[in-house]
């Protein structure tokens, strides 16, 4: 089961959506760990390939999921990435933002795996 202190995400927020059901929470965490990396990869790949539409769409899809997990620091970041992609501004600043997003999410993945004893 999850520990009481969560540095990179908010268990309380997740409970708010899913209810205080350990099994359901674990299932949702599992789902998050299975689906989010592919969205993140789509963001990275579309930036590298210069495809703002795919980039905007991927960021748009990822946005609410990050909110559900209450992942600090990503609220403005993912919105900025989506908006800039919509304006086709695939610049150096965005490269930094995507790297920052990747770093934060990697920390979240690690913490979740640890908290929920997942491989």
């Amino acid at each position: 089961m999850a520990q009481s202190e969560h540095v990179n995400y908010s268990l309380e927020k997740l409970i708010g959506f899913v209810g205080d059901d350990p099994e359901a929470i674990k299932n949702m965490v599992n789902l998050f760990l299975n689906t989010t990396p592919s969205l993140l990869n789509a963001i990275i790949a579309s930036f590298q390939e210069g495809s703002p539409e795919i980039l905007a769409k991927s960021a748009h899809t990822l946005k609410p999921t990050l909110d559900v997990f209450g992942i600090r620091d990503t609220y403005d970041l993912i919105r900025n990435i989506e908006q800039k992609a919509k304006r086709s501004e695939l610049d150096e600043a965005m490269d930094k933002q995507i790297k920052q997003l990747t770093h934060t999410l990697e920390l979240v993945f690690q913490e979740l795996k640890l908290d929920f004893n997942l491989p």
Partner: protein
């Protein structure tokens, strides 16, 4: 109650699963998750009570999906749950008929929960209304409400059956208390218009100055006292049936206005300019002979032919033979049931007394007589002592009409022949006269 079916259309696997889990926390909800608009549209036959729709889908936009849904299923509430934070998108979707629009933020779950509660209440109310409408329909299934086995009433059943198959206007005539409004309701609630309103208006009960406003409505300020707009009975009956009782009492000026409305199928509210299309079925009733009124110049001939449609002439109760007893037994059973009394029977002598009366107030009068008798009896039987006739138009009326003895004889024999379905032998026996006397009068066309 059946499960409350919810469709979630969401391409984001995590968010869709999260919504599905959240909404399924209520065990009354049956939640189905679809990843594309196409999948959702293919499954509409499963009749969801609500659809939660993502705006950005891989195969089509949320707006296109919603338009497709609304094309065939206008009643299904579609709630847009989207990551789009653009207000103009939300406004456009609401204008197109979205029930609500939520952004996927922290409040989405509470908002979704509240909107679901509201939709559930609406669905429940709608199902209650639908149930009540069906109940009314069952209540007015005409063979349940119009009791009788006499040939004259069976003929009426045949006419009602014909009238419910089409939208033809129906004109019902009959003495007071013969059940004209009951027949009108039976026609409406057994017709294709049954789920739409049945609106009745008694023309003689509305003051002449107000009848036009009552029927066609009025605009604010149309006349002194018209402080707000009023929707008239014709508009209220939209898609349904309007029943104009005592149509023979309508004055000539109003007759002209009614004729125009019937012909043009549109009306203008008093004091207004807007033409309003109307779709109503017309049923009229009167206890006057409208053809005579036309002859006398009291009723417009053109309106008479417009209203005549399928004429149904309800027989007076006195001509319905054993229906009197059948109805009496039905009324006594109903009365006992409504008042939680033990079942009462009607003795042979009481039945004879009823059969000998001519019921100027018809079925309405019979009901009143039976209900009074049910109250008066102290046993489980109604006997002749409990049956009292108080009608001002009782049998004595025949004697009040000054006539010759031959005329009285002719009237009495005619009355008995109608009552006993032209059974000459029975009538001769009842009146203790020779059957040849009756045959002779028939031959000589005296009766």
């Amino acid at each position: 109650m059946d499960a409350f079916k919810i469709f979630i259309v969401e391409d984001d696997v995590f968010y869709g699963e999260m919504l599905r889990h959240y909404l399924a926390l209520n065990p009354d909800n049956e939640v189905h998750l679809f990843k594309t608009g196409e999948e959702c549209l293919k499954n509409l036959y499963r009749a969801p009570a609500m659809i939660s729709l993502d705006y950005s889908l891989p195969d089509m936009s949320g707006l296109d999906v919603m338009r497709q849904i609304k094309k065939e299923h206008t009643d299904i509430p579609v709630v847009i749950v989207s990551g789009q934070e653009d207000i103009s998108t939300a406004v456009a979707l609401l204008r197109e008929g979205a029930y609500d629009y939520f952004v996927k933020d922290d409040d989405v779950k509470e908002r979704l929960w509240n909107v679901l509660k509201k939709i559930r209440e609406n669905v429940q109310l709608r199902s209650e209304i639908s149930y009540l409408k069906e109940e009314i329909g069952r209540k007015y299934e005409f063979r349940n409400v119009i009791k009788g086995n006499s040939p004259s009433i069976k003929q009426i059943f045949g006419l009602i059956e014909k009238s419910i198959k089409t939208n033809i206007s129906v004109s019902i005539t009959g003495e007071t208390g013969t059940g004209k409004e009951l027949v009108a309701k039976a026609i409406h609630y057994n017709s294709k218009r049954a789920k739409k309103p049945f609106v009745a208006i008694n023309v003689s009960a509305v003051p002449r100055d107000l009848i036009e406003s009552e029927m066609f409505g009025h605009e604010k300020g149309a006349f002194t006292g018209a402080v707000t707009r009023k929707i008239g009975k014709f508009e209220q009956a939209s898609g349904g049936t309007i029943f104009l009782d005592e149509i023979g009492e309508m004055d000539m000026n109003m007759q002209a206005k009614l004729l125009r409305v019937i012909q043009e199928r549109e009306l203008t509210r008093v004091g207004g300019n807007e033409l309003i299309n109307i779709d109503v079925r017309l049923i009229v009733a009167t206890n006057r002979n409208l053809a005579d009124e036309v002859q006398k110049g009291n009723f417009r001939e053109d309106l008479y032919y417009r209203l005549l449609g399928l004429p149904i002439e309800l027989p007076p109760l006195r001509y319905r033979g054993n229906d009197i007893i059948l109805l009496a037994k039905y009324f006594v059973d109903e009365f006992c049931k409504e008042n939680k009394m033990k079942k009462l029977s009607i003795t042979e002598s009481a039945q004879q007394k009823l059969m000998g009366y001519h019921f100027p107030g018809n079925v309405r009068e019979l009901r009143a007589i039976i209900e009074l008798a049910a109250v008066l009896t102290d046993t489980d039987q109604i006997d002749e002592s409990h049956i009292s006739f108080n009608s001002a138009d009782a049998a004595g009326n025949l004697l009040m009409e000054e006539s010759s003895l031959a005329e009285y004889t002719r009237k009495i024999i005619s009355y008995y022949l109608q009552k006993y379905n032209n059974n000459v032998l029975l009538v001769a026996k009842k009146l203790e006269i020779g059957k040849s006397t009756i045959y002779r009068m028939i031959k000589e066309k005296q009766i």
